[in-house]
Symmetry: C3
Subunit: 346 residues, 3 copies
Amino acid sequence: MKRFETKLSTEMIAAIGGGKWQGKKELKLSNVCEIHEANDESIIFCEQDKFIESAAKSPAGLIITKPEFVNNFPKRSLLISEKPYLSLMMIIAYWQKQDAGEGVAFVHPTAIVAESAEIAEDVSIGAYSVIGAKVKIAKGVKIGIGCTIDKDCVIGKNTLLYDNVRLYENTQVGANCIFHSGVVLGADGFGFLLIEEIQQKIPQVGNVIIHDNVEIGANSCIDRATLGSTVVGEGTKIDNLVQIGHNCTIGKHSIICAQVGLAGSTIVGDYVYLAGQVGAAGHITIGSKAMVGAQSGLASSVPEGARYFGTPAMNANLGKRIAVAQKYLPEMLKAYRKELKEKKDD
Amino acid sequence: MKRFETKLSTEMIAAIGGGKWQGKKELKLSNVCEIHEANDESIIFCEQDKFIESAAKSPAGLIITKPEFVNNFPKRSLLISEKPYLSLMMIIAYWQKQDAGEGVAFVHPTAIVAESAEIAEDVSIGAYSVIGAKVKIAKGVKIGIGCTIDKDCVIGKNTLLYDNVRLYENTQVGANCIFHSGVVLGADGFGFLLIEEIQQKIPQVGNVIIHDNVEIGANSCIDRATLGSTVVGEGTKIDNLVQIGHNCTIGKHSIICAQVGLAGSTIVGDYVYLAGQVGAAGHITIGSKAMVGAQSGLASSVPEGARYFGTPAMNANLGKRIAVAQKYLPEMLKAYRKELKEKKDD
Amino acid sequence: MKRFETKLSTEMIAAIGGGKWQGKKELKLSNVCEIHEANDESIIFCEQDKFIESAAKSPAGLIITKPEFVNNFPKRSLLISEKPYLSLMMIIAYWQKQDAGEGVAFVHPTAIVAESAEIAEDVSIGAYSVIGAKVKIAKGVKIGIGCTIDKDCVIGKNTLLYDNVRLYENTQVGANCIFHSGVVLGADGFGFLLIEEIQQKIPQVGNVIIHDNVEIGANSCIDRATLGSTVVGEGTKIDNLVQIGHNCTIGKHSIICAQVGLAGSTIVGDYVYLAGQVGAAGHITIGSKAMVGAQSGLASSVPEGARYFGTPAMNANLGKRIAVAQKYLPEMLKAYRKELKEKKDD
């Protein structure tokens, strides 16, 4: 259950959520939750048949539901919407912002900020965070507890860093990004040359560039480029424990699920979807709007808009037909051997 | 080699380890180790034939061994047990507790604790840790260095957080849990809706609930629920670098090995075993006592007690038969093509 | 673009990079970068045909190129080398060291160092780092911000820890190592015994030993041994988000790519190459100079020098032939079934 501190009028809730109100409007609503957790101040939603009964029995103050379900909830306060879930999410998003309020910006006295750093107004910096030389932090940025922003980094407007985020030297971050705890941007790319039986380190002197509206999940890592930049495009969302190798370039509005790993210099287009635990070889291109199934291994490039699956990955339809067909493989082998024996015996 | 500071009498060692003592009892024993590291104050164990010779030659002060091996160690001090390894582990566990002693609870002066937090007696908080508003920490909890416990979190009795653990807002933790360094609980679930060509963030306002006796390995992540809670049941053990998506529910006493990834809303039963790097799709159910082989990809639900393997995962026996049969696939293809050609030529 | 603060003479650049100089020597060179970023103070390299045109058009101050390309760059300052990329990397490595300079060692006043710790000269310790009792840190070591080095750890000469590295109790680290942010060494191995329906923790009292010249990537984890030690040999390089289980022994000069996971007690030889997302079962041996393809699952040991691929992994040639052959499996199944039906109908 998520309780909000700001009071929202039912008029405002209806306006934000969209749809049509039915029932009494003199309600005190203070939280959102799942059906089984609801109390008389709760907003819940009911979009599927299987939840009608429990929603009807719950004491929830407001049920967001769709027109065809209305008759299941007589005498209840309803917000009737074509997309109840979406309506609820819009209400929550609005309410969160209200709760965050003006967000009194505050640099904690234990934060260490280099003299040469340029910190705009309305910037918050949490306890025990350290901001290096010549760092530039734009208006409205919030930096959590125990973060380190190394020298020459730039962070754009209203970006939010949760606790314990590390930006290595010269990382460039856009506006309205969200980085979760444990994110590491700009560690050295993984490059070595075996010279005289020793793995010699290839210096990694490029950087990481993250464009606007990017979200990066907990403990994910994006390595700095050898030369040039490792780039994540606008609006791309990256889940937890993801590895992006040096010199990768990721396009706009792509979705990269948990534990995906991209080797170096791989290019990912726009609106790409990489499901969980996908691995991609280096120096390949994943075309825009491609969708790659979970755990797939991409050894070579993926065409635009393709649906791929498998290790090594292939057209997803073929991949699925193979997945089905392989169940008959032991039987086929037996038949093949029998035939072989018969031929031999002939 | 692990040295202990507390002195344990040989009587106590015998009592804790179980089994029968043989040889002299006036021994000074101060450490446990592998055979090759042993000195005359060491306790070692010997449970397999291949280690008899090295154990016999080692200067170890005490050898824990099984009845049938006794004759290999004449004139040595022995603890004779049906399960030597287990006996040693029980001795170590007891000794560790003695060494930890009363554990003088201590809140480091650099720890920042919100006024509204309720900290019970005998709580330790390490340097540079930050405890947020209205957090409740029960008796005997130990929090390491550089942890952040955000507002409204609850931590049950005697739970141990190593350094650098992050609990986001409203995370609820039971008693006797162990969280290793880099654990992140309660980061936002990974949920977006593509609206007008933009990945719109679905607000994540649920929380994470961890029941008693759960251990979570280094750098593992458990995301908060969208609504409701992501739950880990009593006694479940989670290894390093594991990803648990939002709204998952994991049962009791399950084992989740390193680098496993569970997508959102997946249900895992009790006594489930997920081997390393397993991936599970969202919204599926893994039945109690199911065992899933390493790297398997679970696209659909797994029955109770089943043994599954493969990507997509299937009955492990079939999976293994396919793994064997596929080695003959290139040969079968060759034969198939030959036959095809012959037919065509007919 | 990487700018350096130290000024290097063109003579020095030529000497470090090797090869033959052509063109004017009165140049001011202050940075290295990719071709498209270059300005008149940049050093770039051109080793492939496809980059000749852009390199020729760029304003770069110096082009490192190979003898057969020289005619493409009339009137330009060139460093002519058989291996332009390698020459550039040698220049960068040298320049980085000059920039780091004598590296005025500095223990930040907020660093907390136990009285019993032995800190050699020329050691740097960053803000908010904590050094435990009886830790020994050798000359020239650099410890970043927010690191914790628990009691009885040892760190060898000139080792570099970036921010937020955690060494648990009694971790032993050699000289000239590099650990990136979020590395956790020495967390408990993952060992439990199901006793009376409860997962009982097996105490983990061994440690982690890292030999000289090892690099470990961001957020990687190496667990302490149950007894004895988990060991990483000299010169081995480990990428980001890697999991090394308890009691593993890894040899010298091996390469372990991102998201690899090794279960407990596995032995890895020298000069082994494990590509990204490889998983290895416990208690197996991966022979020296073995190469294992990405995402492979090693269920059993790998011979010395072998090339393996697949899950379960096998000889890479066979693995690739199967990967090709399986594409015909649905067709083969159809034929098989047709034949079966015909036989039945006979």
